[in-house]
Point group: C2
Chain length 352, copies 2
C-alpha cells in the first residue's frame, strides 16, 4: 500500500510540529516543504526541524511551483489565521487536485465570516475532487467538537456554557503583545480598539458550528474582551505584571437568541492563572435533559493539540467526498497509532 503523501506549507512552530509528528508515523511521508522565511529556504527540512538527520527534502520558497510540480495527497497549511489570507493558497492547492487541512482559525467554520469565499472554496473543492478542512485545538476541538459530541447524550439542550482556561506563561513576546499581557488597563482598552490586542480567534467559528450541528437558532453572536486585572505579582522571562496591571484578556462569545445567551464560550487567556487560585482546564456545562458537566484538567495543551488535530484528521479528509468540510461533517476524530494508508483505506471502504 502506498504511503499517504503530504506537503507542509508553513514551517513555523505549528507547521514544524506537524512535520515532526509525521516523521514519527507509519504509512505517511513528507514529499514537500514550503516556507517564506529566508533563513529556512534552500535548507534540508531535517536541518530546519533540527531532527539530527537529512530528510532529502529542500525547503522551497516558491509556493506556486512547488504545489504545481509536487504530487501529493494533501497539503497541511499553517501560515495565517484568516480566511481572506489563506483563500488564495487553498485555491491553488485545490486546483492542483490536492486535499488541504489548515489550522487557520477562521477556516474551522468559515461560513459566518465569509459566506462567498466559503461557497467558492466548496465549489472549487468539488470541481477538483478534493476536500478542505479547517481544524485545530480551538477552534476545532475543545470549544466545538467536544461540546457537540457531549450533547449526544441529551434529549434536550436548553443552553451551553463552556470555558477554556489556559496559561500563557510558556509563550513569547508576540503572544504577550496580542493578548495585552503586561499592559495598563488604558493601554489594553486602546489595543482592543485599534485591533493590536486580539484575544481569541474562534468564537465566530465554534458558536455557529455548535448551533448548526444541534439545530439551535441564533439571532447574533456578541463578543466582549475585558482585561484580566491582576491582584498579584506575576512574571515570565518576557513580561512582568504588577498588581493593578493586565495579566491577560478575558474574551467571551455569546450566541444570542431573543436577547438570551444560548451558547456562551469563554476563553480567558493570561499568564500564571494559578497565582490567583484559578485552575487551567477545559470546562463544558450543558443545561438540558440531562445537565452534563465535563472537565479536562489541566487544559488540552494548545500547541500539541493543534498539531495533533491537523495530522490526525488526514485519513478522514483524504477519504472524504469532495467539498469544504468542518469537524461536524467527518467521522469521529482520533489519535493514530497505525499505518495512515490503512486508515485511509478503512474510511474509503466504509465511506459514510
Amino acid at each position: 500500500m502506498e504511503n499517504v503523501k503530504v506537503i507542509l506549507c508553513g514551517l513555523g512552530a505549528m507547521g514544524s510540529g506537524m512535520a515532526k509528528m509525521l516523521l514519527d508515523k507509519k504509512g505517511v511521508e513528507i514529499v514537500g516543504a514550503i516556507d517564506s522565511y529566508e533563513g529556512k529556504i534552500g535548507k534540508d527540512l531535517g536541518e530546519v526541524l533540527n531532527v539530527g538527520k537529512e530528510l532529502n527534502i529542500k525547503v522551497s520558497g516558491d509556493f506556486k511551483n512547488t504545489i504545481k510540480d509536487t504530487k501529493a495527497d494533501l497539503v497541511l497549511l499553517a501560515i495565517d489565521s484568516f480566511v481572506k489570507n489563506v483563500f488564495p493558497y487553498i485555491k491553488h492547492i485545490v486546483e492542483n487536485k490536492m486535499n488541504c487541512i489548515t489550522i487557520a482559525e477562521e477556516m474551522a467554520y468559515p461560513y459566518t465570516i465569509n459566506k462567498e469565499l466559503s461557497e467558492e472554496m466548496d465549489r472549487l473543492a468539488k470541481a477538483n475532487g478534493v476536500t478542505i478542512l479547517g481544524t485545530g485545538v480551538n477552534p476545532g476541538f475543545v470549544l466545538d467538537t467536544m461540546i457537540i459530541t457531549l450533547s449526544a447524550a441529551c434529549r434536550k439542550v436548553h443552553s451551553i456554557y463552556a470555558s477554556r482556561v489556559n496559561d500563557l506563561s510558556p509563550f513569547g513576546a508576540t503572544v504577550m503583545r496580542t493578548q495585552g499581557v503586561g499592559t495598563t488597563v488604558e493601554e489594553f482598552e486602546s489595543g482592543i480598539k485599534d485591533g493590536s490586542i486580539v484575544g481569541h480567534v474562534g468564537f465566530q467559528q465554534s458558536i455557529p458550528m455548535i448551533a448548526k450541528a444541534l439545530g439551535i437558532e441564533l439571532d447574533e453572536i456578541v463578543e466582549t474582551r475585558e482585561p484580566i486585572i491582576s491582584n498579584t505579582h506575576r512574571e515570565t522571562p518576557y513580561v512582568t505584571v504588577e498588581p493593578g496591571m493586565v495579566a491577560g484578556c478575558a474574551h467571551i462569545g455569546y450566541g444570542m437568541k431573543d436577547g438570551k445567551a444560548v451558547i456562551t464560550l469563554e476563553h480567558p487567556q493570561q499568564i500564571h492563572p494559578e497565582s490567583e487560585g484559578v485552575d487551567t482546564g477545559d470546562y463544558i456545562d450543558i443545561k438540558g435533559d440531562p445537565d452534563l458537566h465535563l472537565s479536562i484538567k489541566p487544559e488540552t495543551p494548545g500547541g500539541i493539540g493543534t498539531i495533533a488535530l491537523a495530522v490526525n484528521m488526514i485519513p478522514q479528509v483524504v477519504a472524504s467526498r469532495a467539498g469544504l468540510k468542518t469537524m461536524m461533517d467527518l467521522p469521529l476524530p482520533h489519535a493514530i497509532e497505525n499505518c495512515f494508508a490503512n486508515q485511509v483505506a478503512y474510511y474509503k471502504e466504509g465511506e459514510f
Copy 2:
C-alpha cells in the same frame, strides 16, 4: 419536506423512552409500534406511553407483518442485548429496506463477538441499500466514542484507562439480581460462575472499537468480575446490604498487548457508592503525548443517555451509505433541537 418515519420495536423502559422523546421532536414521526407483551398489544401507543392522549397507532404484536407492511425510514430496536438474538429481527428489517438503530449492547461493535453474523448483516444492509447501527450510552458513547474523540488531541497514545462509576439505587429487582446486589460473597461467586450475575455487557465492544479507531494492536481482551464488598449499611426499596455483603459488581475489561494492559475500562456498578465516599462519574485518562484527564460528574445518566443516543443518531444513519456501521464510522453525534428531516438533508448533501 417529509417527516422521517420511525417504527418502534420494543416498548420497554428504553423503547418507551425513545418513543416519548420522538413525540417531542420536529420533522420525525412514529408510524408503527411493536411489542411482545400481551398487556400492550392492541392498545393505542399514547395509552401505553401514558402521554395523556391517543396517538392513533395501535401497538402490534406481529413483528413480521408490521415490518413488511409499514413504510418507514428506520426502525428503533430495543428488545435484547445480544447479537444472536437481535440478528433475525435486524435481518427482517433490513430486507424490508429500512434502516435500523439498535441499543443491543453487543451491536455497538459486533465484529469481535460474532464475525460471521457481522459480515452477513453488512452484506444484507448493502444489498438492500440501508444502514445498521448499534449505539447507547455504554457501550456506544462514554467508554468508546468519548475516549476515541478525546484522543484526537494526542500525538501519541501509550495507554488508556477509563472508568464509569454509577449508582444502581434507582433500579429494580432485575438489575439488583443481575449485578449481585445484596448477595453474600459466596452467592456472588456462584452467580458469576452460572452466568446469573452478568456485570456489564460492553467491554467486548468498546475495547475493540477504540483499538480499531486508533490502530492499536491487541492480543486479547481479559475481563474480571469482583464483588464490591460493602463496609457500610446500604439499602433501597428492593434490597438491603449489610457490611460484609455485596453492594454490586466491579467489572473490568483489559485490552492486552504483550502481557500489558494497553486499554483498561472499569465499570463498577453498585448501590449508593457515595456511602463510602465514591463519587459517581465518567473518567477518562489517556497516557500519551500529551496526557489527558477528562471527567463527567455526575456520570452521564444511563437510561436518558441511551434513549438520547439512539434517537440522536437517526439523521446520520438515514443519510449514511449502506452497511453495518459503528459510532466510529459516522459524523459527530449530537443533540437535535431542529427538524430531523432538515438534519437528514444536511448529511445527505454533505455525504462524507
